[in-house]
């Protein structure tokens, strides 16, 4: 069991009535929820549900048309000290293909004003020893995920945002990622994982947010599983397919 009051206990995130439209497509509609600090939250939803858009708003890469997002007590990453407290793994945030693993970490460390000694630490932490001189374009998808995670861990963040972190990972990598998420939570980090893989989410998260343009469910994993008669998959599909049928989705707040 994780401690109720972890030592770090940081990383607050609050969405309040966030809406975003791209032309005729309503990507997000009145999305409101908050992450519990020091807990792992799974952000679930089908393709096109708005998960990536929501994460982009959270990171200050996109602006909501309505509503607001608050990260670590302020507007998304509007201050450098907040950027130092957030780590991100996201497909849409890529790497220059010609840069080496080591150079990418050097660039990120310089941006954050971190000493280069930190680079060796995160390389060891994510298991990229021996790959420092490899160019990004020569790295496998799994190695790129590890590099993205190494960059994310550089500032020793309070808030870790992982968008489909298991993409391209082999079973060993998936197990390693799961342990890393558990360790992060044990150390008091707030972790937000957006994923399609229900079985993996079920093993890693404390809380769940189900999103399909708007929030269909937000609460603890146990509560959602209970709704599905003991099966997360049943509960998830009941919510998502129910949202297809109903004009207005049911919103349950934790």
């Amino acid at each position: 069991m994780r401690p109720e009051h972890p030592p770090r206990a940081g990383g607050s995130v609050v969405f309040d009535g966030v809406s975003k439209r791209f032309g005729d497509h309503q990507a997000l509609d009145d999305v409101s929820f908050a992450l519990r600090p020091g807990k792992v939250t799974g952000l679930l939803g089908p393709n096109g549900a708005g998960k990536s858009t929501l994460l982009r708003i959270l990171l200050g890469l996109a602006r909501p048309d309505a509503g607001s997002a608050e990260v670590l007590g302020g507007e998304p990453l509007s201050a450098p000290e907040r950027a130092q407290r957030v780590g991100v793994v996201m497909d849409a945030i890529g790497f220059h293909p010609r840069v080496t693993v080591r150079r990418q970490l050097e660039i990120s460390a310089r941006s954050l004003g971190l000493p280069s000694s930190r680079i060796a630490e995160v390389i060891g932490q994510v298991g990229l020893d021996g790959a420092e001189r490899k160019r990004v374009k020569a790295c496998s998808t799994g190695m790129r995920q590890r590099l993205a995670l190494a960059v994310a861990l550089l500032p020793d963040p309070e808030l870790l945002i992982l968008d489909e972190p298991l993409n391209g990972l082999d079973p060993d990598g998936i197990r390693w990622m799961r342990r890393l998420v558990e360790r992060s939570a044990d150390e008091g980090r707030t972790v937000l994982i957006a994923s399609h893989m229900l079985s993996e989410v079920e093993q890693s998260v404390d809380d769940v947010v189900v999103l399909r343009r708007s929030v269909l469910f937000t609460g603890s994993l146990q509560e959602l599983v209970r709704r599905g008669g003991g099966r997360l998959e049943d509960a998830y599909f009941a919510l998502v397919e129910g949202a297809d049928a109903a004009p207005r989705p049911e919103v349950t707040r934790a």
Binding site: L59, I93, P97, R98, I107, R110
Partner: protein, 248 residues
């Protein structure tokens, strides 16, 4: 300069030093300048009597490197948009304006490198080409005035390209646009519409170089400098405004 901005600038300079863009474009720029300078010397029937004017013209051809400094600036920005790494840059910066500021400053430094290399290479190529024709460089005040103009033009070309990158975002469009404009477009406009061309960045470059033979309608050098700075500042403002208001 605040520490967070120093960190950004340091990271941007490291990015510029990473990869092949800087050395490749610098080499092509110097080769391009050298070709023009060799042509100039070998077209001169009596280089000994041409004296300081020929030397100044040789050095002035170093300004051709500005096109490549512009390309590097544009690639430095558009490359991040195409790889998606711009998201990480935004994430670690104290604000989007700081991202633009750091990139403009870094490309100013790279532009300066192009300028220094162009001037040094011009003098070296000129020296060798004139020596082959039993002549030599005639260095006087006009040589250094022209060298200062080349340095200024190349230094401003870096942020000019970076600002265009923030406006255009698409790498292919930016590079094609700059190359087509830099080779054909400006020749057409300066040749056919000199009243308009003298106010464009290319006309301003001729003004700064004091090259009346290349573009007789050029303004006086101080106005050329003001225009170049004005164009760079205006494009930088446009780039900043677009970058801070659009989603990344």
């Amino acid at each position: 300069m605040p520490e967070v901005l120093r960190n950004q600038l340091s990271a941007e300079l490291l990015k510029l030093r990473t990869g092949l863009a800087l050395p490749a474009l610098l080499l092509v720029a110097l080769a391009f300048c050298a070709l023009g300078q060799l042509g100039l010397v070998y077209a001169e029937s009596d280089p000994a009597s041409a004296g300081a004017e020929l030397t100044a013209n040789i050095v002035g051809l170093g300004a051709s490197a500005a096109l490549f400094a512009t390309l590097l600036g544009a690639l430095h920005v558009t490359g991040e948009f195409s790889s998606g790494s711009i998201g990480r840059t935004v994430l670690y910066a104290p604000g989007r304006s700081a991202v633009v500021g750091a990139k403009l400053l870094a490309t100013t430094v790279s532009g300066l490198v192009f300028g220094v290399a162009a001037v040094v290479c011009s003098l070296a190529v000129g020296y060798a080409a004139l020596a082959a024709k039993d002549s030599g460089l005639t260095v006087d005040g006009s040589t250094w005035t022209t060298a200062a103009a080349v340095l200024t033009i190349c230094t401003l070309a870096g942020p000019w390209g970076a600002a265009i990158g923030f406006v255009v975002r698409n790498r292919l469009a930016a590079v094609l646009g700059l190359v087509v404009w830099g080779t054909l477009g400006q020749v057409l406009v300066l040749g056919q519409l000199p009243e308009l061309g003298r106010f464009l960045p290319e006309g301003a470059q001729f003004a700064l170089l004091g090259d009346a033979s290349g573009f007789p309608d050029a303004l006086a050098a101080p106005y050329g400098l003001l225009l170049l700075v004005g164009w760079t500042a205006a494009m930088s403002l446009a780039g900043t405004r677009l970058f801070t208001h659009r989603d990344v």
